[in-house]
């Protein structure tokens, strides 16, 4: 948060100062100068340091936790249930609802949180609709809930990635793996996966920009979020804000698609590890229960040999899962 620290204006006699209690455009300038500026045409298209884990909760069938740099997001998917609002019924497809919630400590600016939650929810729904096989749950609705624990930029794309993994974990049929990323341009510098400070700079700081006289090219600034399904090069959702020329837009689009490709490998790896892990757990459980059955059979044979058929008959109602020994 670009906030001037309180120690700068502590006047003990209670007099008020006309400004300086709020952030000023000058602070934004200083911040921008202090940023390490990437080159105009980035060469490496790598995502941030990512951590994804599928299956983190025991209460719901589908859950995933993702850390993208400092942004931390948790997504929950429950199996489809009966449609609540009959008016939302569509003839041949199920309905998806996404609810986004910020944790109380997730972000510094609290007034805009409800609006951002709504906005994120609707954008998330739009992004996930193409990837889910909605024909499989006619007249049902699928609820996806996202909890944001820490906001450091790229919220929507992180949420989309996380929900994609949670959907697969829950066992909902999807057409492909979905990956998303963000790119923004500000004063001719392209930032891939912008942090929250950069994003805030983009939206809040507009004061100094417009020095250009009419007749010259306007200063472009903008943010592009792309969610794609790479098997057939399909774009599930592409959202742009700001002011971009078509060429810049296509450039940013291509950057995000490249980042998506590398993210997709990571997600695939996570999911295969998870499936293997689940498979091993299943195998272990199966061998344990096979072992148990064998032991039980041995006991019965031994007792039979000793001629205690009657004893066995009368004890048949004993709980077979209790370990004897």
């Amino acid at each position: 948060m670009l906030r001037v620290t309180q120690t700068k204006n502590s006047l003990l006699d209670g007099a008020t100062i006309a400004d300086n209690l709020y952030t000023t455009p000058q602070d934004c300038e200083e911040f921008f100068e202090s940023l390490e500026k990437p080159s105009k045409d980035p060469k490496k298209f790598t995502p941030r340091k990512t951590f994804i884990r599928a299956g983190v909760l025991t209460t719901v069938r589908g859950s995933a936790y993702m850390e993208y740099g400092n942004t931390k997001v948790l997504a929950i998917v429950a199996p489809p249930h009966e449609l609540m609002r009959a008016s939302a019924r569509r003839m041949n497809m199920g309905v998806i609802n996404c609810y986004v919630n910020f944790a109380a400590f997730a972000t510094g600016e609290l007034e805009s949180v409800p609006e951002r939650e709504r906005h994120l929810g609707s954008m998330l729904t739009k992004a996930l609709e193409p990837v889910v096989c909605r024909t499989e749950f006619l007249n049902f609705q699928l609820d996806i809930r996202v909890l944001i624990l820490d906001d450091d930029g790229c919220l929507l794309s992180t949420a989309i990635n996380c929900c994609g993994v949670a959907l697969v974990e829950c066992g909902i049929s999807t057409y492909d793996l979905i990956t998303a990323s963000t790119a923004c341009i500000y004063r001719n510098h392209v930032f891939l996966n912008p942090s929250s400070k950069v994003e805030e700079l983009l939206w809040k700081h507009r004061g100094v920009q417009i020095e250009a006289a009419s007749g010259s090219a306007p200063e472009e600034h903008g943010l592009v979020i792309t969610a794609s399904m790479d098997t057939f090069d399909q774009i599930a959702q592409c959202q742009q804000c700001g002011y971009l020329s078509p060429e810049t837009y296509v450039k940013l689009l291509d950057y995000t698609l490249a980042v998506n490709k590398s993210l997709r490998q990571l997600i695939r790896q996570v999911l295969t590890t998870r499936v293997r892990e689940q498979h091993e757990l299943d195998l272990r459980e199966k061998t344990e229960s096979a072992l148990e059955d064998k032991r039980l059979k041995e006991i019965i044979e031994r007792l039979q040999q000793k001629g205690l058929d009657e004893f066995i008959q009368s004890n048949i109602k004993e709980d077979p899962y209790v370990k004897r020994m």
Binding site: D19, T24, M93, P130, G207, P218, E219, Q239, Y243
Partner: protein, 296 residues
Amino acid sequence: MAYVALSEAEKTFILHGVEEDFRCDGRSRRDYRPMELETGVVSNASGSARLRLANTDILVGVKTEIDVPSPLAPEYGKLEFFVDCSANATPDFEGRGGSDLAQELILSLQNAYESPQAFDYRSLCLIPGQQCWKLYIDILVLECGGNLHDAVSLAAKAALFNTKLPRVTATLLDAGITDLIISDNPYDCTRIGIETAPLLVTVCKIGDYCLVDPTAEEEGCSTVSIVVSVSMRNGEPYLSGTHMTGGGSMHRDTMQNCLQLGLSIGEQLNTLLTKMLKQEQDRVGPKRPKTVGFLK
């Protein structure tokens, strides 16, 4: 949008028509249905406009208020959108049905007008850091016949053109507080520059082809459409906000085609709208005798 049930045969008919560039009513893929525009219909608002695009009927009113600018942008005014999908529009909008659609429209418009390049917020500033104009743009959807985004943005731009901000003079009182005097004369006003104000163009993908201005039936046949917000600056089209709707996905190349189509159509719509608004202004003159309104 309003949900229309169609049989498979009707959908096939529409699909083949789009492939041959001859839609159900004879239009090509790039044609719009005839529109009717009137500004200044609501006398109580600072600016208003009504647009009819075949069945779709939109009424926009603009109200002005004096507000304190945000501290991070002390020289900028504010703009706030509100959309109400009236239950008269279609039966789907009864109760809470229309609120989702209304939210979507509000978000698209906010996104499109967000950038200072798209709308000159500095012209709304009165005293930097202390007072600025805040415009409330209220949009009422009276009837829904497909293609809401386009109609709403056209009507909003027309209403902004029609908005008259009363002239404000400031007197400096002591203690550094300035007092604002707002002129009472209805003809003493300033206008808002809307050359760069964006227009939303919905490009709908049916089968393998993209078209603009879908009717409600055509919307029912398409899987995905992209809403492009086009703003003209110095004769060049710029994108000020795009998103996809419809629940389907599209290939990257298809998206390029849709973008190009949207940009060229947006450019033409912009010039056409500006021309018609000027024409209306010239014909009616500064004193409006009588508005045509809803009757007739």
